[in-house]
Symmetry: C2
Subunit: 316 residues, 2 copies
């Protein structure tokens, strides 16, 4: 809803009562509801949005669950807020969209205090401001375990959304950036890879560039190349052949680059007649293979078939 | 997202592995993604929606958390699915909207089996079909505790959404139906009140009728009349005076009618010059008071000031 309604017992933070009203006042200060097309943001039963003519709207939802997607001991409140929105924005980027607004449903886990809640919103709203994606509403509840559900609305010119079911045999297969960085960060807990794991960057500018370039299909790499390419190929009714050229992040193993999740780079295909770009919005682009006819979803590598292991693999 | 992506360990149900793919196949069977305006539903990074000209879109999100909003021991999986969507639809009804589509993020709690997940979706999709609100996407995860977040998109003619911040002194205050039925059901656990507690009915037809009637303000009664009227008055910068006429459900106490949550009836105001309806879409309408000038949010009753106790009051 546009309102942040709070159902259930009062949130008690470090012995202090934090009422719904207090949280909404805090949000209204931080998240002004005026944005292009936003008739009414936080404060009513629903947010009211006026679409522009000749645009399609994109909608994505992403859950971030405590001890599944993050741990209190390793992720600050701000990291959690950032990551929650970044995951949603990455889906908008994957379809070549521009963010319009977001909604957040937050179930606050036991033992978390007001500082945590404030930190969470600060991390989220900082990224919201940077990317032009104002918070227009949501819901609040308490729970034993923290769970955040982000909804992002984006927009593309009518009929121009990049999809994953439109790759065709003969297309080249490409990725932006370097792979395995998040898995490497998760394994080592330090340096740039760890920071990238905590604060992934949605590839919005690259997504826009891809749409203008006329990519034949695209998706984001959220669960790992092996499973995500399998999904793209399956949705398109085609197979894919990797050429062995993989832009692994320095220090990442081949397995991390192939199966590591949460890189949030873009995976895309491009018709054979299109000139492949060397970079998109400052990100290097690597041709990693091509689309071929074959069993839908099959991903071949020199000498065999790649199993879609993906993200699970790295969560022991 | 349009996709139902599954992040995290495999869902293991009663020793059986239930993969993301299996759940998506099941959903694709049950939730065909073709609906007016839906270019692409389940299956991609985002759902793609093409708005109609001259319409505003409404967005609401509602969390349903295990042991906060429902218990496994009292609510069947189907009840949970129904209630999840009903709560979102009630917000659309409150603004005079027609449902367009919904998205669902579901964190499946420990120990729940495939039958539970199927039952949940069946309950939700049955109501989705009845109300013309197809499921266009969402997200799935596992968790210790079940949490469902529903996002409903609705539509109204441009500028015609009913809001809660537009009541003016002199307006009459009205409610649809009878109050306290859900609280009575929660207290007794039997009969019609209990069934209404388990399967609330969003007042969509009454909301449409209210919009056509030209109500000056409206909201749904989700947390109890005393707190919800307080919210409407506060948002509008006015006070309200109750006349002592309260359409309490037969058998419900005055406290249940005043403070009981989850009735999902509509609370609305009507300019003094408008003829008050006796019924809306088959629901009786009762004039319960009027809007007055006074401290914003204050609700007076004959002989005093009503405290906004609302839903919390009835949770143990």
């Amino acid at each position: 809803m546009g309102r942040f309604a709070y159902h259930g017992p009062k949130l008690v933070f470090s012995g202090r009562m934090m009422t719904e009203l207090k949280i909404i006042e805090l949000l209204a200060r931080w998240a002004p509801d005026k944005a292009p097309g936003m008739v009414r943001g936080i404060g009513d039963d629903c947010a009211i949005f006026r679409p522009r003519p000749r645009e399609d709207l994109l909608f994505t939802t992403d859950l971030l669950v405590e001890d599944v997607h993050f741990r209190r001991t390793t992720h600050t409140a701000g990291d959690c807020g950032h990551k929650t929105l970044a995951r949603g924005l990455s889906d908008i980027a994957a379809m070549g969209g521009r963010p319009r607004f977001c909604l957040l449903s937050l179930a606050v886990g036991k033992g978390l205090d007001q500082r945590w809640v404030e930190g969470f919103y600060k991390g989220l709203l900082e990224l919201a401001r940077e990317t032009g994606c104002p918070l227009a509403g949501g819901d609040l509840a308490h729970a034993d375990q923290t769970a955040a559900d982000i909804i992002v609305c984006g927009a593309v010119p009518r009929g121009k959304a990049l999809r994953r079911d439109t790759a065709r045999p003969g297309d080249g297969v490409f990725v932006t950036g370097a792979l395995g960085v998040s898995a490497l960060g998760l394994a080592t807990g330090k340096g740039l890879p760890w920071r990238r794991h905590l604060r992934p960057e949605p590839r919005l500018a690259a997504g826009l560039a891809l749409r203008r370039l006329g990519a034949s299909a695209a998706m984001d790499l959220s669960d790992g190349l092996s499973i995500d390419l399998h999904r793209l190929a399956k949705a398109s009714g085609v197979a894919a052949m990797l050429n062995g050229d993989l832009p692994a992040f320095e220090g990442a193993t081949l397995a991390q680059a192939l199966h590591g999740g949460e890189d949030y780079e873009l995976l895309f295909t491009l018709g054979a007649r299109k000139k492949a770009p060397l970079a998109l919005a400052g990100l290097p682009v690597t041709r990693i293979g091509r689309i071929i006819e074959g069993p839908p979803g099959q991903v071949r590598v020199p000498g065999g078939i790649l199993q879609p292991l993906g993200y699970d693999h790295f969560r022991k």
